[in-house]
């Protein structure tokens, strides 16, 4: 096979298979022929050593990235703008929820502290004997720790989700521009083993204290008031 024949077959096959940037591929093989000819090989020898052009074309097809520009870039950008808008709203909602839980944690802590130091501004807290209040206070403080830990994890989760979405956004644009795609990111946060153990300990500990003290508070309140409906005995809703 002569050089021309080799190049023609290769070009034709690459064209048929829609391989992109064929000129650069052909330039490499042309250069290969040129160097080998200069070394004194004949065109036939060079073609044989290069291998079957049909087979080589198949190897290019096999490594080709999926065809780009399937949808127009304008359409992609429009789609991404819409996607960004709705995911944006979604992320605002998630971030707001994190704020709500943090607020809840601080409120629980404030009420707990108020019962502990017997502070009842404007009488807004339901009255109860100090020791009953103290048990409920422990429960409330544990609840504050639990919700704070929960909101922290939730916040990390939202942050990681946002990053993963950003990467997805970047990659869609990269594919349409024919640029290399970066590996996608995981959609959940990953803590270091030590942080993970600590987090688990804090959550389980505060959950246990919250539940135990809540039940204990109810029991102590019922005994002190002499009735399971202690709120009636202490005239909470009058």
């Amino acid at each position: 096979m002569k050089r021309n024949e080799f190049i023609v077959i290769l070009t034709k096959r690459l064209n048929e298979q829609n391989v992109g940037d064929i000129d650069e591929i052909i330039a490499e093989y042309e250069a290969h022929f040129a160097y080998k000819l200069a070394d004194g090989y004949t065109e036939e020898e060079i073609a044989i050593k290069l291998g079957d052009p049909d087979e080589l074309a198949c190897q290019f097809v096999a490594v080709e990235r999926p065809k780009k520009h399937d949808i127009g870039r304008g359409l992609l950008v429009t789609g991404l703008v819409f996607a960004d808008f709705f995911t944006g709203l979604f992320f605002i909602l998630l971030a707001a929820w994190t704020m709500v839980i943090i607020g809840f944690a601080f409120a629980s802590a404030a009420i707990g502290v108020a019962y502990l130091i017997e502070l009842n501004p404007y009488g807004i807290l339901p009255p109860m004997p100090y020791w009953v209040g103290a048990v409920f206070a422990a429960s409330l403080l544990a609840l504050a720790v639990l919700s704070l830990a929960g909101s922290l994890y939730f916040g990390l989760y939202v942050k990681q989700l946002l990053k993963a979405y950003g990467r997805f956004h970047h990659n869609r644009l990269a594919v349409s521009a024919g640029k290399p795609v970066l590996p996608s990111l995981r959609a959940y946060p990953k803590l270091k083993p030590r942080e993970n153990r600590l987090f688990r300990k804090v959550v389980l500990g505060s959950l246990t204290i919250f539940a135990l003290c809540f039940v204990l508070g109810y029991i102590v309140a019922s005994i002190t008031a002499g009735t399971p409906g202690f709120w009636h005995a202490w005239n909470w809703f009058v």
């Binding site: 650069e24 591929i25 490499e28 052009p53 990235r65």
Partner: protein
């Protein structure tokens, strides 16, 4: 040896060459085919794949008297991947060697 075996390895060999310096296609093809028994044309699809994956970029340099050379340069991504693949491959080879010699 099976051609499929070789291809994956050649990719790593090409990366190792480019990790040291920029090389042009024919130069890479010649170096590889002198050491490994494959047809001369096989290296170019591999170079193309590396480029498509963003591991290398190309630039053209004119030469006096010869055809223009398409040079391949390793990207940061390529360097990162090469470093980890190299370690993995050396461990792998070590294990295979131990298993085969244990016969």
């Amino acid at each position: 040896m099976n051609i499929q075996y070789k291809k994956g390895v050649i990719e790593l060999c090409v990366l190792s060459m480019l990790a040291k310096e920029d090389r042009y296609g024919y130069d890479i093809s010649e170096t590889i085919s002198q050491k490994i028994d494959i047809s001369d044309g096989t290296v170019y699809p591999i170079l193309r794949k590396l480029k498509g994956d963003g591991l290398v970029t190309t630039y053209v340099r004119e030469t006096s008297g010869g055809p223009p050379r398409i040079y391949y340069r390793m990207t940061d991504l390529g360097r990162k991947l090469y470093r980890s693949d190299r370690g993995e491959w050396l461990d792998f080879v070590e294990t295979v060697k131990m298993m085969l010699e244990a016969e």
